[in-house]
Amino acid sequence: MKCYIGIDLGSTTTKSVIVDEQAKVLGRGITNSRSNYDTAAAVSKQEALVAARFTLFRRALSATPALAGRVDGLLVDLERHFRLVQFRAQLEDLEETCLRHSGGLRFAGQERALAEALGAVFRELREEAIALFAPGARRRSDFFRDLAGSGFMTAAEPVCKASGLSFDLMLNVYDKSIIEVENRKGEAGMDGKFLEALDSVLRTRAAGGAAAGPPLVADEVVRPVRAALQIPLEEVYVVGTGYGRVRLPFPKEHIRSEILCHGLGAHLMHEGTRTVLDIGGQDTKAIQVDENGIVENFQMNDRCAAGTGRYLGYVADEMQMGLHELGPMALQATKTLRINSTCTVFAGAELRDRLALGDKREDILAGLHRAIILRAMSIISRSGGIRDQFTFTGGVAKNEAAVRELRNLVKENYGDVTININPDSIYTGALGAAAFARRGAAA
């Protein structure tokens, strides 16, 4: 099967989108770019290929009459089990790496204690993993780094207290190890993981129980899945875009400006789009496109990363919360505090100041979100304002509080315009790139 791939190498996350010859999206993949760019590109592509497999599974399973009406549930289960398998493999890797690192000079004399503590921590993490991927569970992030990291912190604190080990020391072991683990591509044995996950689904269902769902006839399911796994995914043309695009191992013709990709991607997601706002990790762009998705004007922030997605990242770190949790908390605010400095690094300091003055976390967060959106509004205004329809993309579009502020301000300043926010908006740039890849191959 012919695949056209767009990779958006962002400053915080790297996204890939695979489209087929009919320009239908086969799969999307995302990973942290906070490591090696080549790896990030490879991993996100890998993830997109995984997703593409799921699309193929869906096609194959849907063609099996016996499964009618049950495909959705099955796929959700399959994915959950697959993620768990994946997570466990990484966890295992992390534990080994941590153990290896606790042998260093710094830890001389404490190796044993460390090893024991690590053992205890990872035991807990493994147990938690099941709950983490239980049906309907809400995860604070999609990335291993975040999930394992926050789990590690929570688990390590009591363990350290009990064993008298320094928490900083434990943290240090983790910090040393996570980069390595994150940077391993781990492509090998993907097919095996699908089958392992499938097997696990079948077993759980067979075992019955409240959440297990109706049991399945193994053969009915395994055959189409195996068949779908046989279909080769052929990478015909890859186009790269995004902040790190110059680092991509592609020739110049395979690289497109992120502005163009976002413009086109937004147009493909919502045909009527005329104004696009993208708030990513370290930049904010406002793009005006015409009825064909062609860029007419754009503005972006420069040099200073104030008020971008990383800002929220810092805030989340500071509050020891997941990015997913910031928005909901800000929505609890009873009043919006006024925050003027959107310097990313000072965000933490400002936050602490405000907390010390007795302001509530919710209210401060609401203020921070508003500050980001205000900055974005300025950039939009500079690019020519908002025209109908308005599409909001980039990672921050996933943040409900940011979206709410944006809606309010758009209404106040530009009246009633349609605001599109796509659940897959983070993939806008990659989608545009994939479309360029399809065109590139045709040319």
Binding site: D302, C304, R338, I339, N340, S341, F346, E350, L374, M377, S378, I379, S381, R382, G385, L409, N413
Partner: protein
């Protein structure tokens, strides 16, 4: 005994200050048919002419920290001061829709270019770039300026719909003379007893003069003076400073307060110089236009936005201010990216260094939120005077 307290007066001024929709000026305009309002920006315009035409001069000093600027940033890059962008935002959001004329005085290239932007965005408004001579010879600069004033007078008369008579001008002179006298008196009183006139209060009372008719402002000044004289206030262990560089974009009120709270009494400043531009009374007889010109050429205040033809006099005004107000030091506060203030500063510093007057300097924006560095610097300044002066 004054019947009105400073607190009540200041509260009124604060309300005027907070109202970025200019309700007071709107009310004034609505009170009688045909009234018109002419806005102006820093640093100096002859408000007497506007007043004499029966119109309300309205001083615009940006939107301060309370307005969330959205559109203004579409017109200005990050390395340009904030006052033009917040002013534009006031315009674009309709907060200045009652303004019939707008004067942009010669202070710097930013305001100069803003006059052009205003012409394009608000074609229905009478917009004039008001040039003043940088040549102070009565024959050369004076002739030019008299013509400019005459043109302004004619332009404003057209806007007002009737000519501006000499008598009307002289009557306005008298009112503004009184205003300047009261302001001078207030400054003198403050320099004498700065704990009785906190910097933020003096600021607000002065600032009220930007939006109130001069008659009302005169009353306000007189009331405040009387009230301040009547009230005792605790005196703190603060040092005395002159604040310089704040003549255009305004620092947030919290910054003015932060300076005082961290141990510095402000005993002179260059806020709203338009109130103090002419150093002497305008004669209320003779040719009024000539009088305005003469006062400007020979008897107006000095600042970074004005040329000083004689090198030996350059920057002397800061020393004069220090001496007149018995200050112990100078705080230079300038808007970020403000060429007139920031390029002037080293020359002023040199003058102070020659006679060992200590000084510090920092930058601000009208929406600066972090007062920490300001407190830090003003506080250290005050500390050093506190710790090192004789007990």
């Amino acid at each position: 005994m004054a019947t009105i307290t400073t607190a009540a007066l200041v509260a009124r001024c604060q309300a005027l200050f907070d109202d970025i929709s200019f309700g007071a000026a709107r009310q004034w305009k609505a009170a009688a048919p045909g009234r018109k309002v002419v806005a102006y920006m820093p640093i100096y315009v002859p408000r007497e002419i506007i007043h004499a035409a029966g119109m309300l001069p309205l001083g615009i000093l940006g939107a301060g920290e309370s307005l969330e600027v959205i559109h203004g940033d579409a017109y200005y890059q990050s390395y340009i001061c904030r006052i033009p962008r917040s002013t534009l935002d006031l315009g674009i959001t309709g907060r200045l829709d009652f303004v019939d004329g707008f004067l942009f005085p010669s202070i710097c290239d930013v305001i100069r270019n803003l006059s052009g932007i205003w012409k394009i965005l608000f074609p229905e408004v009478y917009v004039r770039y008001f040039d003043v001579p940088q040549n102070f010879d009565p024959e050369v600069g004076g002739t030019f300026y008299r013509h400019e004033l005459q043109e302004l007078r004619e332009g404003l008369a057209r806007l007002a719909g009737s000519p501006i008579s000499d008598d009307a001008l002289r009557a306005s002179f008298a009112l503004y003379n009184r205003n300047r006298r009261l302001v001078r008196e207030l400054y003198a009183f403050r320099a004498e007893a700065p704990w009785r006139v906190p910097a933020s209060e003096l600021y607000l009372v002065q600032r009220a003069g930007m939006v109130l008719p001069v008659e009302e402002h005169n009353q306000l000044l007189a009331d405040y003076l009387a009230a301040a004289r009547a009230e005792e206030r605790p005196r703190r262990d603060n040092c005395r400073v002159v604040l310089n560089g704040v003549f255009c974009e305004q620092p947030p009120l919290s910054l003015i307060k932060a300076i005082e709270m961290s141990g510095c009494y402000v005993v002179d400043d260059d806020f709203m110089l338009v109130n103090r531009w002419l150093l002497e009374d305008l004669p209320v007889s003779g040719d009024p236009i000539a009088a305005l010109a003469t006062a400007f050429l020979g008897g107006s205040t000095e600042t970074g936005a004005k040329y000083q033809p004689r090198r030996e006099l350059k920057g002397r005004y800061i020393l004069d201010a220090v001496r007149a107000s018995a200050a112990e030091g100078v705080i230079f506060a300038a808007p970020s990216f403000c060429d007139p203030a920031l390029l002037e500063r080293p020359m002023l510093e040199a003058v102070l260094d020659r006679v060992d007057v200590p000084h510090i300097g920092f930058k601000y924006a009208e929406n600066s939120a972090q007062m920490q560095p300001v407190r830090e610097q003003a506080g250290t300044f005050a500390d050093s005077i506190k710790l090192w002066s004789a007990p």
